[in-house]
């Protein structure tokens, strides 16, 4: 029996393919710093910390310390409100307070009670979704051009050219495509709960999405292995590379060659390509930039960040600090300024997600 098993062929090419992927992951792994185990029992440590915290909070100087800690979760010196954007363009945000367009001068327009939205390819329209409704809206006037009722709509994404566009969205675990005029709605396939993305720079309608098995597909074609915990997918601006963020790594897929480049960066919650092709990653409190020399930290916040949007000129990155009710603008070109604005929830009626920063006035 053993000889029979040994007769099963191996596959040297598969081994080489796998080694190239595994070697990349090994090269980019983040070694864990080993800590010596304290001889004091963890329960005793916790109890001591709890007593100290309560004592500190009850004393007048302690209260001052607690207040300082509360302040420290945000960026110091933040503007009390969003008076203007640091860069030209229009920002699209959605949340409990609806979908809003923010102009560069800080003026805002509410488009309706939608919870998710995205720009059309040339930012002439917005596609927005509530739970059971998809709508195409003109951002300047707020006029709704068409609506489509479907159950459980999420992740609407608009792609195409000036004259011919498509919108992809999910209902539950199905990806759908509808024409830009709201006609021809079709269920395409099962998909993971990851926003689908349209390939830029092509007149063809090429949609990439993560299928139910965790594999990246371009149209019907499977272009990756199955990945566990896929979270976010993005095209590079030239349409040549797809970046996939998963629970444990970030994978760049070169579409023409099929080659993959993997970074072992755990916990990436969002990723976004700049217009010039730089890839930014959001991980916990930090924003990382992927470059030729590897990954470097661009910015570390005092508390957890959420969402990522590049300015249209690629000079600024915007992220949100929900615990401090702030937005943070981080300059990536022409300086290293960090600008923060507070009271975001008051301005937008709730915590908004960052849906995109598009050119135009």
């Amino acid at each position: 029996m053993r000889r029979l098993f040994d007769a099963v062929p191996s596959d040297a090419e598969a081994e080489e393919r796998a080694w190239s992927v595994v070697r990349e992951a090994y090269a980019h792994r983040e070694p864990v710093v080993r800590r010596r185990r304290s001889p004091i029992r963890p329960a005793l440590v916790l109890a001591a910390v709890a007593v100290a915290v309560v004592a500190a909070a009850l004393s007048p100087p302690g209260r001052a310390v607690v207040n300082a800690v509360r302040r420290s979760i945000g960026i110091e010196g933040a503007q009390p409100a969003l008076f203007q954007l640091p860069s030209p363009g229009r920002l699209l945000v959605s949340g409990a307070g609806g979908t809003w367009v923010v102009a560069a001068d800080g003026s805002t327009r509410r488009l309706g009670a939608y919870s998710q939205a995205s720009w059309s390819p040339h930012a002439l329209f917005v596609v927005a979704a509530t739970g059971n409704e998809l709508a195409a809206i003109e951002p300047a006037s707020g006029r709704v051009h068409w609506q489509l009722a479907r159950p459980g709509i999420s992740f609407p994404r608009w792609g195409g050219t000036h004259t011919d566009t498509r919108i992809a969205y999910l209902t539950g675990n199905d990806v759908h495509i509808v024409a830009g005029d709201g006609t021809g709605d079709t269920r395409v396939s099962e998909a993971a709960r990851v926003a689908p993305v349209w390939q830029p720079g092509t007149a063809k309608h090429v949609l990439a999405y993560v299928d139910a098995r965790g594999r990246v597909r371009i149209g019907e074609r499977v272009v990756s292995h199955a990945y566990v915990g896929a979270r976010t997918l993005a095209w590079s601006p030239d349409g040549k590379t797809l970046a996939l963020g998963t629970r444990g790594e970030v994978v760049e897929l070169a579409v023409s060659s099929g080659r993959t480049h993997m970074f072992h960066v755990a916990g990436v919650g969002a990723l976004a390509f700049a217009p010039d092709g730089r890839l930014a990653l959001l991980r916990g409190n930090g924003v990382l930039l992927v470059g030729h020399a590897g990954i470097r930290t661009l910015f570390v916040a005092p508390s957890r960040l959420a969402g990522l949007a590049w300015s249209p000129n690629g000079r600024w990155l915007l992220s949100s600090l929900p615990a401090a009710d702030q937005w943070v603008f981080v300059q990536t070109r022409g300086g290293h300024r960090v600008l923060a604005v507070s009271h975001i929830r008051r301005q937008f009626g709730g915590e908004p997600s960052l849906d995109g920063w598009a050119p135009g006035a």
């Binding site: 191996s10 598969a14 081994e15 292995h225």
Partner: protein, 182 residues
């Protein structure tokens, strides 16, 4: 769970334990040696459980990626092989179960596609025989006869009672031998 054996000398004089230590310290050569010494069996084990070359490649590769993620926390006193094989076989069982739901068949064409050389008549018969078994039976047979674990070790690897392992082995082997004889 009792300790499983295998601290194999993998190449030259260097033990697996030394390779893991060096790989944890950042030696890509040591990590490659670990990969090269374990890949063929990991891949074959996956292939024999799932019967699909592409899926076997995915499963074996994902198992090594899991190893990379856990490398710094890995206890060097434990053997690497059983830990890796547990991941490979469990993932392969999951994949095979999911595929069984779609009523696809185990195909020797895929076995051919997997190899750089023509599979022998014996290998073909083995693939056809394995196709008759449940994924769980295939896994136990593969762990026993390809990877060389004892029934007790298989029970610990798969978190199964030893009696279940023995019965799966016995029934699986009977059906497999019939198929191979034919």
């Amino acid at each position: 769970m009792g300790a499983l054996r295998l601290d194999l000398p993998v190449a030259g004089d260097r033990t697996e334990r030394a390779l893991i230590r060096d790989a944890q310290r950042g030696s890509v050569e040591a990590f490659e040696q670990l990969f090269r010494s374990h890949w063929p069996r990991a891949y074959r084990a996956a292939l024999l459980v799932v019967g699909d070359a592409a899926a076997a490649e995915d499963i074996a590769q994902e198992s090594f990626l899991a190893a990379v993620r856990a490398l710094d926390r890995f206890d060097r006193r434990r053997p690497f092989g059983p830990w890796l094989h547990r991941i490979v076989v469990n993932r392969a069982i999951d994949w095979a179960r999911a595929r069984a739901l779609r009523r696809e068949s185990f195909s020797d064409v895929e076995l051919e596609a997997a190899g750089e050389r023509e599979p022998s008549a014996h290998a073909r018969a083995l693939a056809e025989g394995l196709a008759l078994l449940q994924p769980e039976q295939r896994a136990v047979i593969v762990l026993r006869y390809l990877l060389g674990y004892t029934p007790g070790e298989i029970a610990r690897l798969l978190d199964l009672p030893r009696g279940t392992v023995n019965s799966r082995l016995r029934r699986g082997l009977d059906r497999l031998q019939e198929a191979v004889r034919e």
